[in-house]
């Protein structure tokens, strides 16, 4: 039996951020994308949330895309609710397309059409709250 070997993510000097999987295996650095689209729904699923958007091309044709996001657990904990990204919201994504060429992508940066970050943007430490006393 072939042994599954854990990635030794913890061997670097600082504790790294470890995503659920290797993004580079799923998305293609050679397929950069920039999309402006309208949210149709958000899947609140672990390990990754998925944001569905409709993107209108120059010819008026609408294409549906799925954008991979972070764990809903932290989003919920930081106050992100189902109303925070409502259907109809316009968002802008700059990122990379799936390696299989399908309409799936990862947003290197993701913001509302008016430039606001989709979530908190810059880091906001301590959001897990004060401990129970």
């Amino acid at each position: 039996m072939r042994r599954a070997v854990w990635l030794s993510l913890l061997l670097v000097a600082r504790m790294p951020l470890s995503a659920h999987h290797a993004f580079a295996a799923e998305f293609d650095i050679n397929r950069p994308i920039k999309l402006r689209g309208t949210v149709t729904k958000m899947d609140w699923i672990n390990p990754h949330s998925w944001i569905h958007i409709d993107v209108k091309g120059p010819d008026g044709k609408v294409t549906s895309w799925m954008i991979e996001g972070g764990s809903p657990n932290v989003l919920l904990r930081m106050g992100f609710t189902k109303d925070a990204l409502p259907a109809g919201a316009e968002i802008v994504l700059e990122g990379f397309q799936a390696k299989d060429g399908s309409n799936r992508g990862v947003g290197k940066t993701l913001s509302f059409a008016d430039g606001r970050k989709l979530f908190l943007g810059s880091s906001a430490p301590g959001a897990n709250g004060e401990p129970d006393k």
Binding site: E68, L75, D100, F119
Partner: protein, 330 residues
Amino acid sequence: MRRAQSFRRVLASSLFVLAVGFADAQQAAKSAPPATTWVVPRTADGHPDLQGYWTNASITPLQRPVELGAKEFYTAEEAAAVDQKEFTERTSWDRLGNQARVHYDMSQFGLDVIQAKVALSRRTSLIIGPEGRIPAMTAEAQKRQAARAAQRRGHEFDSAQDRPIQERCIVWATEGPPMMSSGYNSNLEIVQGPGYVSVLEEMIHDARMIPTDGRPHLPASIRQYLGDSRGRWEGDTLVVDTTNFTDKTSFMGSTENLHVVERFTRIDADTILYEFTVDDPATWAKSWTAQMPLTKIAGPIFEYACHEGNLGMPNTLSGARAADEAKGAK
């Protein structure tokens, strides 16, 4: 956003108090009597009450940066400066390191480690002692690792079974034992009952049931992903001994014969001091020990139903098949 700013203010004022407080608590644990009037809470059977929600989110490296030599602790001032740098100067992109090229901005999704409550320590590394680093691997272990890598090479994306066990949503790499910070959702819940202690880690979803009634380990023929844990109380410290791992997981290159001893000591209202010692003669010439605080957080733990939503796995494999086709077409 207001909440975020308020947290930042709270953090700015309390971060260093926390850091100093923990170091003081560590000192207090070593030199009785403690200066505070805090009394360890106890369960009905008289053991220390470890129950509740805790985080092991950490910005302390496992291994000591080489340039620090044998320096095991920062002074309060040094620790404040190091933490300050991590919290204000470095970004989630910095922390992603070489993963950053194809990745999302972790902080946009609340996944940056400093966006959650962090269990601070004045330690320069989680590994204790003058070396502060994992002992060198034995020649046997190096050979074993090279053989594993050679076996995988070129087959990394053949099937789901060839992907790391973490990607398959079976167990998380930091789940242990020993338990390590998972980067985000680094939360755990401890529940105690007569004869048992249970440790639920949010990442990835497993509750480790630890009998404390003195029963022996399972027979060596029965192996488990999380090993077989047995607990006992040594004074006010819960000591958990784990053996019987499988060859499907590995902690820093260990074999299935890894032996882990964890020690949980409640040192103040908001802190459990967590220490582990790992031993595996087939991997390291000597055992090594790390120590980290578990800091109290507000609950609850949320479900992390990883497998149900694991769209990343089919996407990764279909990407690999597309690459195979493209290669074949050339």
